[in-house]
């Protein structure tokens, strides 16, 4: 099916749940309300004409300082029919929670953990909502736009002494 036809199918099935349909250079994104996300995903997987049996990728986005601040893109692909579509769900900055899709595609497990680790968007209903990349005792979520990059001053000959004093050193 053509991407636009898929989007219209979803819009017909969920007139309330589908917020918007965006098209850019032949790629279609279906913006879904987070309340309806699981049902839309379920339909995408189970519908006879859609058969999206493969969740290719999840991508978190931080639109800081705009609101709603966070978004997660779900790139779906059908291995049987060879078509793909992108779902997008927004989460506000003061309540960055989305429903988990691990019940629909088990492969969403680790990507959702990665988005939680990097963006702090937590997924309600996820069985193991822990960090996956950073150490478990890490504070903050590095891919947020207001997260400092952690730049350390480069040691040159003119500031060697000062940087050397600040730099941590091991005990034997």
């Amino acid at each position: 099916m053509e991407p636009m036809a898929i989007a219209n199918t979803l819009k017909e099935a969920f007139p309330q749940g589908v917020q918007d349909i965006l098209e850019y250079r032949g790629e279609v994104t279906v913006v879904v309300r987070r309340e309806a996300l699981v049902e839309v995903a379920q339909l995408c997987r189970d519908d006879e004409d859609l058969q999206f049996n493969y969740l290719s990728d999840l991508a978190g986005v931080d639109y800081y300082p705009a609101e709603p601040r966070f978004a997660v893109n779900y790139v779906l692909f059908s291995l049987r029919l060879g078509h793909s579509i992108r779902l997008k769900a927004y989460a506000p900055g003061d309540d960055p929670v989305l429903p988990t899709l691990t019940g629909v595609w088990a492969g969403a497990n680790w990507p959702e953990r990665e988005i939680f680790d990097m963006f702090g968007v937590s997924f309600k209903g996820h069985a193991n909502m822990r960090r996956i990349l950073m150490p478990f005792d890490w504070t903050g979520h590095p891919h947020r736009k207001d997260y400092p990059l952690g730049y350390e001053e480069v040691q040159f000959s003119f500031n060697y002494e000062r940087v050397q004093r600040q730099k941590p050193h091991p005990k034997e």
Binding site: L149, G150, K167
Partner: protein, 167 residues
């Protein structure tokens, strides 16, 4: 040094009595059979493997084998960038190595963070373990690594066996 046999001794096949300093004899043994621990973390590890392989043949210097266990090795070649998550592991492996032990920071990333000046990468492995030799390069060629190891040998030859190793 005085450990090489003279022509007379070689001719007769009998080695006589040799006098030398304890430091030199022990350090000679340490440098000629130094076993590095495999600590490849990134692209520098490829160069380390090339150094080990037949073309550059690190076993010329007594490093016949890289050990995968810290308990059997006395040289840690940190080849690559160390992430903050890896740092406790690296320190723990260093602590598990039996003394005397040495560390080579191979490449820019292990020496000072290299191009990765950000929150995730340790800005030089010398923040967590004492480093003996730094090798510049991104990544260093096998010749540079061998030169670094030779530099470490020179340092080890100057160490005193009975004195405690200075950090």
């Amino acid at each position: 040094m005085g450990v090489m046999p003279t022509s007379q001794e070689q001719k007769t096949g009998e080695l006589g009595i040799i006098t030398t300093r304890l430091d030199e004899a022990v350090n000679w043994g340490r440098t000629r059979a130094m076993w590095p621990m495999l600590f490849g973390l990134a692209c520098c590890a490829i160069e380390m493997m090339a150094t080990q392989a037949s073309h550059y043949d690190l076993s010329r210097f007594g490093m016949e084998l890289m050990r995968a266990s810290p308990r059997q090795s006395d040289l840690m070649i940190v080849a690559g960038r160390v992430s903050r998550k890896m740092a406790p592991v690296l320190r723990r492996l260093y602590d598990q190595m039996p003394a005397p032990k040495w560390v080579i920071a191979m490449g820019d990333c292990a020496s000072c963070g290299g191009v990765f000046n950000n929150y995730a990468i340790l800005q030089g492995v010398d923040e967590i373990v004492p480093v003996d030799v730094y090798i510049a390069g991104c990544p260093p060629r096998p010749e540079q690594l061998i030169h670094g190891i030779m530099t470490l040998y020179e340092k080890v030859m100057k160490e005193h066996v009975l004195a405690k190793k200075q950090p």
